[in-house]
């Protein structure tokens, strides 16, 4: 996904400006010249300068006139699906893992990812189950990472 440098430069400059506006309301430290606004304020100011410089340079250089160009993946429904499945799968895990538990949420998420990446159904199911068990064994049993049990709490071991 290519975005014209002039847009990205302006985006950074606007972010810097927003930072400057936000820190302008921060209080000082009693009896000191410096306060919580100084460091982010300097960062914001430099961001405005660097962002504008990038935008100006992009206008000067003979860059592509297209402001936004999607990558090759945009022409392939399978690749779009793979990208989307990553985002949705992460969100599903984040929102449902405490309720359902790791052992119930990981297999379907993995199964969908495998399918989205082009793996055939039986292989996807086998890999999803095996990966869940191995990950659980390594992280939960091996390293002591507190993976949630959720609905299976009564069977926790």
């Amino acid at each position: 996904m290519k975005i014209h440098d002039s847009i990205l430069g302006l985006a950074f400059a606007m972010l810097g400006l927003a930072v400057l506006l936000t820190v302008s309301g921060y209080p000082g430290m009693p009896g000191q010249d410096v306060g919580p606004a100084l460091f982010p304020g300097a960062v914001g100011a430099l961001m405005v300068v660097f962002g504008l410089a990038l935008a100006v340079r992009a206008r000067r250089l003979a860059m592509s006139r297209r402001l936004v160009a999607l990558g090759d993946w945009a022409g392939s429904p399978r690749h779009i699906l793979a990208g989307l499945s990553i985002i949705l799968g992460c969100l599903a895990y984040a929102l449902l893992s405490n309720t359902l538990g790791f052992l119930l949420i990981a297999p379907p998420v993995l199964f969908v990812w495998h399918l989205a990446f082009g793996v055939r159904m039986p292989k996807a199911a086998a890999s999803a189950l095996l990966t869940t068990v191995v990950t659980w064994a390594v992280f939960y049993k091996g390293l002591g990472v507190p993976l949630p049990w959720g609905l299976l709490k009564t069977y926790a071991f």
Binding site: M1, K2, I3, D5, L8, F12, L15, G16, V19, T22, V23, Y26, P27, M29, Q32, D33, V34, P36, L38, F39, P40, V43, M47, F50, G51, A53, L54, R57, W73, S76, H79, G83, I86, I87, G89, C90, L91, Y93, A94, S97, N98, A106, V109, L110, W113, H114, A116, F117, V119, S127, A128, T131, T132, T135, F139, L143, G144, V145, P146, L147
Partner: protein, 497 residues
């Protein structure tokens, strides 16, 4: 003597040795699979190290990074796709050697001289770090302030061919580090009223997002066809290595030395060291015309350089807490997590930890030879590992690692956002490494600046009054104005001509 014995016991016990073995396999695997980088290997390791004792955690990181950097040579040699950025400098050369039927020489010299370079860098680390640490004991906030500024300037100017974009990424890193109450005034900044943000944006979710999730996203969206492996038999990789050592001793020493120095410069890591060494090797070679046709000389020199840079990067990381490259930026994060705060006092208060780190480096570089040999033996199978199976597994490890630290959905959100942003920005030529340097160094820079301002009562001249601070300050200012000076000199030369 007692701290040294203690260090040996810390390294050579069942648990640590098991972790070293597992990390070796992990590092070699990740390094050898095209599209998975050494940085990704370390990012995925961090959540696991959270649940380990400090020395096993460091053992995992040292071993994984050393193995991954070497293993990056394998796909470079057989597929013309460097496994890690550190192998990119001599990928074409190694591939040309494989096509000419000399894959074993290319891989063997990558393996043997990587180990030699790594040991050389470790020797320098052992000698230089304590001396520097003693010197650094007298440093005040003024010296640290300039040192950090000089470091980040080097990171932007040296390590990036796009200083403007690198600078913006560094500033973005500073901004991320500013979120929350972790500032000298303990004032909640940029939290928007969210309690989740009071403690700041987690280093770990961001790290995993930027270096692991973004790579998974890139691989998932990549439509380029898979490269084909050179299908020629690989002979004994150790055959002829002694002859090469006798033939090219200067190249080995030069590559190792340059690699260690470049590695020790903040911001410049193994990849820059390898590129510089390869270029130097070609320039000083008696047979420069052979470079690019499948000539081993450049591989020896830059192979030694990239692994010596790895140890070199630990010098500023351990002595000053300033990362030498992205890998050490991650390590510094782990050191803080483990209460092994880097800095000169680490050498005086916990010498056994320092000795353990030295032993780990030596051991990792020694076992690299048998482990690397075994990896080369199964290389062709490793390179055909189905990406579509591997990516979901890596992604699950990213999520479990991120989520498992605090059982926080918010952290997974941070990982996801960081991954998407890193992917988009990298696609548009923004280097990601300066952002992580910014996150690590931002709080240090602010703290030392505020301390110095309070001590000097706002008097800027005080920042230059102490001799070392003055020199560092002048060097920093020169580095900032160097592009302008260079332009002015070029204009003057042009007008004279």
């Amino acid at each position: 003597m007692e701290p040294m014995l203690q260090a040996f016991r810390m390294v050579f016990n069942g648990e640590t040795l098991l972790i070293i073995m597992a990390s070796s396999v992990f590092g070699l695997f990740v390094g050898a699979v095209p599209g998975l980088s050494a940085t990704m290997a370390l990012a995925l390791l961090v959540p696991m190290t959270f649940f380990m004792e400090p020395i096993p955690a460091l053992a995992a990181m040292v071993t994984t990074s050393a193995m991954a950097i070497f293993a990056g040579d394998i796909p470079g040699c057989l597929l013309r796709m460097p496994g890690t950025a550190a192998s990119a400098a001599y990928t074409d050369e190694a591939y040309a050697m494989s096509r000419n039927g000399h894959a074993e020489t290319a891989l063997g010299s990558g393996l043997v001289f990587s180990a030699v370079g790594g040991l050389f860098g470790t020797a320098v680390l052992i000698v230089a770090a304590p001396v520097l640490a003693e010197f650094a004991l007298n440093f005040t906030s003024f010296e640290y302030f300039w040192l950090i500024l000089l470091g980040i300037t080097c990171a932007i100017v040296i390590s990036s061919d796009r200083p403007l974009k690198g600078g913006l990424m560094l500033l973005a890193g500073f901004l991320v580090a500013s979120v929350g109450m972790n500032n000298p005034a303990a004032f909640p900044r940029f939290t928007g009223g969210s309690t989740d943000l009071l403690g700041g944006i987690g280093f770990l979710p961001m790290l995993i997002g930027m270096f692991a999730a973004s790579e998974v996203l890139r691989s998932a969206l990549d439509r380029s066809p898979r490269a084909t492996i050179i299908d020629k038999p690989i002979g004994n990789v150790f055959s002829g290595m002694w002859r090469l050592s006798v033939q090219y001793p200067m190249q080995i020493v030069r590559g190792s030395t340059l690699g260690t120095i470049v590695g020790a410069l903040p911001g410049a890591g193994s990849d820059i060291a390898a590129w510089m060494s390869y270029a130097l090797s070609k320039k000083l070679s008696k047979e420069p015309e052979k470079f690019g046709t499948g000539h081993v000389e450049g591989i020896i020199e830059s192979g030694a350089a990239n692994n010596s840079a790895l140890a070199g990067a630990w010098i500023p990381a351990l002595v000053f807490g300033i990362p030498g490259d992205t890998l050490t930026a991650i390590v510094i994060g782990v050191l803080y997590m483990k209460n092994l705060n880097p800095g000169p006092t680490l050498f005086t208060t916990n010498p056994q930890n320092m000795y353990a780190i030295y032993i780990l480096f030596i051991f990792a570089n020694l076992i690299m030879i048998p482990f690397g040999w075994a990896t080369i033996k199964v290389a062709k199978r490793l390179l055909t590992v189905p990406r579509e199976i591997l990516l979901p597994i890596i992604l699950l490890a990213c999520i479990v690692g991120t989520f498992g630290m605090n059982n926080s959905a918010f952290d997974v959100g941070i990982m996801l956002v960081a991954g998407i942003l890193a992917y988009i920005l990298e696609e548009n030529g923004f280097p990601v490494a300066p952002a992580i340097l910014g996150v690590v160094l931002g709080p240090m820079l602010e703290e030392n600046f505020v301390k110095s301002m309070i001590k000097s009562d706002g008097e800027i001249a005080e920042f230059f009054r102490r001799p070392v601070a003055g020199v560092l300050g002048v060097l920093t200012l020169m580095a900032w104005t160097w592009p302008l000076i260079r332009k002015a000199l070029a204009l003057r030369r042009g007008s004279e001509a």
